[in-house]
Amino acid sequence: MGTVCVGGVYPAGCEKKRDTAAHSLLIGSGRGVFIEITHRCSPTLKWLTTSESFQLSRVCDIRNTVGNVPMEWYQDYPHIGYNLDGKKIFKPIRNKDELDEFLDKMENPDYWRTVHDKTTASDIRLTDEQVDLVHRLQKGQFGDVNFNEYEPSVDFFTNEVMIHPVTNRPQDKRSFIPSLIEKEKVSKLVHAIKMGWIKPRKPKETTPQYYDLWAKEDPNAILGRHKMHVPAPKMRLPGHEESYNPPPEYLLTEEERLVWEQQDAEDRKLPFLPQKHSCLRAVPAFSRFIHERFERCLDLYLCPRQRKMRVNVNPEDLIPKLPKPKDLQPFPTTMSLVYRGHTSLVRSISASPTGQWLVSGSDDFTVRFWEVNTGRCMKTLEVGGAVKSVAWNPNPAVCLVAVCFERTVLLLNPSLGDRLVVSSTDQLITAYEPPEEDKEQAVTWALSEGLEHNMGHRLTLTHPKAVKQVVWHGKGDYLSSVMPDNSSNLQVLIHQVSKRRTQNPFRKNKGLVQCVSFHPLRPYFFVATQRYVRVYNLIKQELTKKLMTNCKWISSMAIHPGGDNLICGSYDCRLAWFDLDLSTKPYKMLRHHKKALRGVAYHRNYPLFASGADDGSVIVCHGMVYNDLLQNPLIVPVKVLKGHQITHDLGVLDVTFHPTQPWVFSSGADTTIRLFT
């Protein structure tokens, strides 16, 4: 407010200038001023407008010329200033007090528009225009009614109008001649476009991302490769154990869990640990989820695929259809007799050709003779060593038993059965006449006399080495003994009883001989070494055949009474069946036993063969050979006979058939001999 200071005396012609000053004052002043105005009279108000000042002068014509000075300065004076003529303006005699004021307020209808002028100390009643002006100012409008605040602005510096230049520099030449660099660039671009290096922008594709791809299903689209395609197997569906809340039997125990953790990922039966959560809220994220998905991806594109025919066989169909054992009777089925008496394991047994007697040799240095039907021990003979083998002479007209122990082969006459036969046998032995020229023989023949003769000993053959086996020829005159020895050719000897002659048929050692056997009908001789069976023709004195048994170690051998078939038992649990006419290889390998085979035997009349092994069992098989060569032999196991106890890992040591009945004898390590009928 104090910024506009008007001089003390105004010339009359200066009205207009003052007016503009007042105007500018109004523009510049804030709103607060006018609020003040309404209540108390301001000294500047009298300058408001020209018309107003005229009005004021016309009413009372008092103008204070002191200017805009605080009126307090005139407090102590009777006057408050000077008028235009330079005369003092005196204060009114009495100032209005509160009561006057109030009365005035109550009575004067124009009180609201009355303003007290301090400079002249008089009350001024505002005109209608003035009140209007005050109201407009209070509203924040311009004082001048005719003033247009929204007049269009006049631009003087835009992108279009620039009435003042930015710089005054004259234009360069280059600004109005074409640019060489640009020309070069453009020509490069043109060249590139011409050459097809720069391609125009591709138009946006308008086809939708997805549409009906299979709208037209073309049957020709199914190519051969679709038929060859091996679709990947689907993911395995989860089982109960994968549940978040599985039945308790699917959870792993503590130990199983430890085992699971220690196993390799490939060995695990389950790829995850089954877990139980009490509620769905408690189930955590599966940590290997992305891994499993990734592995599935790898499987899909890296795993070689192959069509595999799944073996969907009924195991019952694999079992061969064999004739029922019932239809193949007779064969031994039950154990009917046990011959007890030996005190050590019974190595060997042999039945008499009549089938009435049985002889057995044991490790307790005895040979016992039994009656087959009663199981009675008829005779016990003490010999000087563990009996390795006994053999009853197959000739029914002769009653002789060969027994071997240590280095001796003993020929016994058990004096059992027909008296005539017994005496004729004795005569046969005594009828021997020594030849003129005494040849040097491998064994010494000695005739028993005296006490020994009474005991039944007839002839004693003392061998140079320990004898393991004795075998009779079918006619009953020849006898062969085996002395296994790896280092010499003296392993097998053939003795002729009637002439008390011994010969060594082999000049060469072909391996450790296990057992030997005579052909039942023809002059063949079978020698089994560890892995091969050699068949010699005794008349021509030559090797006829060499049978490969495919076994590791042959233990025993038996020849079919027809002479066409041969069975070999071996320590590696196998039984090889040979067809001698067919091949030198086994026609059939039977692996019936669990342990080493010790003895095999053919029946003389019935199509049966039996094998005894260390597992304590005797297996009887039906082995039918047909005369018709086109028909294959029928081999059917018919019975597993058990009875022998296993002692010291040894079970059955020898088996032999009854010569006429379908009965089988077996001797075992449990000191017994058993008869199965």
Binding site: P247, I290, C297, R305
Partner: protein, 585 residues
Amino acid sequence: MGGLQKKKYERGSATNYITRNKARKKLQLSLADFRRLCILKGIYPHEPKHKKKVNKGSTAPRTFYLLKDIRFLLHEPIVRKFREYKVFVRKLRKAYGKAEWTAVERLRDNKPGYKLDHIIKERYPTFIDALRDIDDALSMCFLFSTFARTGKCHVQTITLCRRLTVEWMNYVVTSRSLRKVFISIKGIYYQAEVLGQLITWLVPYQFAHDHPTDVDYRVMATFTEMYTTLFGFINFRLYQTLNLVYPPKVTQHEKLNRWVSCSLQKLSALSASLARVVATAEEEEENQLDQFPADGEDLENMEAREKEQKEQEAQNRLFEGLKFFLNREVPRESLAFILRCFGAEVSWDKSLCIGGTYNVTDETITHQIVDRPDIDKQYINRYYIQPQWVFDSVNAKMRLPVEDYFLGVTLPPHLSPFVEEKDGDYVPPEKLKLMALQRGEKHGKIQEEEEDDDDDDDDEEYNDEVDDEDLTEEKNLKKMEDQRSQGKQTLAVKVTPGKVKPWETGSVGNKVRLEKEEKAEEKRLAIMMMKKKEKYLYDKIMFGKKRTTREVSACAFLVYLFYIDDVIVRLNYYRSFRLKKQPEN
């Protein structure tokens, strides 16, 4: 001498196969591109029958592809696109290096892209072929849609996967083709029957993934690229079959959330029905099977089919008329999906997700699904059940009794609906109970007896199979158990009297037994005569059979124990039993 010498490995199987490296060279592709091509075209290695012959005498481990397959790849137009892209990348890098930004922009404008439509059409000539192979695509897309924007793959892929999966779920809801659901520890398995094909997929739980470092995400991304294309086309076709608009739109008359502009979000809420191309009546008339005059087996088949269809319809209306409310702690999406698939109305808290149609306070709500031990304010006219009820009911094809699933109740075991027990397999007792329920037997006290009966039957069944020793042992244990339950006496080990052999007693009843034994022996003898090869196979089969019976009998024995006492005691007993058994085995 006459004739040319025949060279080795120029004929036969050696010429039909090609190693991977040679194939790569033939196609002039880098290994990564070759891999990508194989994934996209569905070429997989083959295992030759005689590997040594194919490998030209060497036994080194190699991957072999069929030469025909590789020749087939030679004509693939996408191979050229791969090369173009490689050139593009090279040019772009060069332009960047020279800071030629206009060139960069120009190159970017003409970025070469490729489409897999023709490959999809070629790999799956018919729609059913494609549908059959969608299992992996679904699982993969569901996995990718849960990925965060971590830079493991493009954001566009994630959003596309999310969109496709949401579309799929909406389709399943609309067609009501969901059949089985299973909560496993890996995630939630769903099985739907779409156009006669059973489609199974696995959805992981909603957690942030701990991205493994030993996983090649490029391979996964290539698969996803192929799968999204395939999946989109399948979705399109499926929507078409249902007469729905594709891409799906929410029907207009349901103006639930006007302020939400994102349609994907709205769709993913799974609470609104979809717009149809042709407005049809709400009630769709099911296609009735036409009646054909038939006789004999055909008639039976027809009846069976009709029955099956009726059952299916009943299952589809399983939750119809029920009103569910999901509490905020239950997995909203899966439950809303399942419930809507079976015709239920479902809603949730507004602050949880958009699409909730009513509030907790709605009096007409029949079931509220809660997964917390207790809840403060309970309404009396609704059931408060745990989420497993929904899953079990769907699998059982019936509304199970809710008592077992109330708040704070120990839940019954959750069984897999995918297991189909064959004869001789172990069936958990819960399943037997469920089957009895399905047959319509009463649920309650009688059930206990039935279970015992069932159990006895089981015992007999497996006793026949189990060896005699096992049988006596079993009996021993049973006796012990009886003693335990009666008087809690100490377990005294007893020796059972030996069995009297039948031929020694010679009674009349043993004739049958004798015959049986004779048969058994016959079989034993015949087995002895088997050939070595067949014997091996036979032994193998029998070994597997015996193992399953052993496992079954072990489990069944445990279950027998379970019925004797309450849970904890039986568990402990079972543990001790198993621990005792371990060293013997």
